[in-house]
Amino acid sequence: MSSEFNLISELKDKTLILRTEGYLNNVGGEQIVHKVSEHLNKNINKVIIDLEKSKVVNSIGISYLIDVIEQLNQNNGKLIFTNLDPTIEKTFKIMGLFQFAEKADSIDAALS
């Protein structure tokens, strides 16, 4: 069953930028965790997840994002969400993600 989730990654210095597209669910969450794990060996200290093209997220997807936060915390890294849909931003707030991660309006703002 296609969920049509796409993940594009880009490395800028010590920052990993992930751009998601589609339903951020089990499949999407796993891809994000896997990609972050791949790059943790490369001394990244910041991960930016851009959700501009993801308008729907479920709690399974969120649980994987929490895993990413924990992974980064172990490595003294930081997670920043960008271009959040207002509904998703509200969801993240309720789920407590912003206690451990940040948000920014854009990737450029997150990089600066």
């Binding site: 669910n25 729907v56 709690s59 649980s63 509200k90 309720i94 789920m95």
Partner: protein, 535 residues
Amino acid sequence: MLEQNNLVERLSLQAESFQEGFEILSKASSFRELTLNFAHLLRGNFIIKDLYLLHKAAEDSEWEGVGLDNKFSSSDLSYLSSSNNLNISYYDKQKFCASIVLPLSNLSFLGILLGLKLDGSAFNDFDKITLQILLQIFNSAHKSFLNQKKEKELIFGLNEKIFQLNHLIDTGIELSRFEKRSTLYEMALERISSLTNASAGLIKIEDLDHNPQQYFLFPSGTDLENVLKSELKIQTSFEHRNRIYHFVLSGKETRKGLTSFNELDQLLFEAVTRQVSTAIENEFLLQQSIEKELIEKELNVAALIQQRIIPKELPKIEGYEIAGINIPSKEVGGDYYDYIALNNGKVALVIADVTGKGISAALLVNTLNASLYSYLEFDLPLTEITDRLNKLIYRSSPSDKFITFFMAVLDPESGVLEIVNAGHNPILLLRKDGSLEKIDAGGLGLGMLDLGLPYSGQSLKLETGDNLFLYTDGIPEAMNENEELYSDERMISFLKNNSEKPAGEFINALVTDVRSFVGTAKQSDDITVMILSKK
């Protein structure tokens, strides 16, 4: 004794490092991190190079390596006791110094194979006690880790419930604001999939014969058949205005794969579908309201037009009194009366009643009025005018619409009336001596048939004191709450008893009498009446 004291002293010195070890282990955020940190502790305390950590989830599970360099062989596993209790075995001059099987509080097991110490020595008493302490530290840290995990899961679960509740409320608000129907369905699918962790959702709209008309899928690339055939699905449906809306969700996601939806999911699912149903109904009601407003505007315009046709005031004819009134039962009615001064000094009195009411009846009245004026210009015989009107109305009206029509042309000087009655109720002529004539000669109502059947006319003369009474059936058929009709008899009786009154007063008195009879019952038909009295 001295040896024991030395042991105690050495262990006391180690207390702080044990404490630090526990703190390090307690900070682990995963079982893997916990075991790897423990491996570091073991290596640091015993100065050993090779160390294998294994884990099995349950008594009858297989041992699996934990950590990066776990290249153990099956023969290595033989060192691990098959007992399910705590077992620590020490070896001399073998591959391993010690093997440990540690039961954990969650009924899993940690297996540890300690390789040879770098200095080649065997485990002494101090090492054995240290090992036992470290194992206890690990056990405590593992319990702490499990508690933290449970606490996190609990917090996550509580937050999830809050999220679901908030999301459900927001969904209801958002669905009520949708602008396009397709947006409504897409939003509903996205929201309910997110709420229930569904991997896919479907809305199928079909007619009452179950012919599918539209599908909406989430995510957009989802295979329709997979959703419909899924064994892990929930569905619900509702009917609205000859369409059936089916909602299906399939494949509830968990970290461990797909599972069945639970009762809460079903509740959330049905709540959202009810919100969709309400939104659709509200859209329909809004549309109806807009259409009603448009119709009312059109009716107002039609009423204005019709009011221009109905004479506001009937003119004075020397030697005669004339009065009339039209009270439509709706804003726009189907009754019509008029007074037309002709070029030859004569006067045409017209009364008509269109089948039906409302705007369609009013439009037909307008047609009648316009064409009548036009034909009267040509000084044609009444029967021919009526025939032409019949053909015109027949062509321009639906088959179920026709007009009952009465026209009288008065020569004021002679008092002669030329009359045609096309299907209208008999017009009453009350003579001064109290005798009553009913005038109904003519033909069929206008627009009923066009078979070329000629209309017949009639001629009579008004004398002083005579009253010509024109009316539509809204008078005799006016009904009160007891479903009694005003009736022809009552109307004729009123005419006879009040014919002396001036025309205007007569009309008002008749309307008052009819309204008094009807009481609080709703006016069921237009009321139109005209009286011509020769004085």
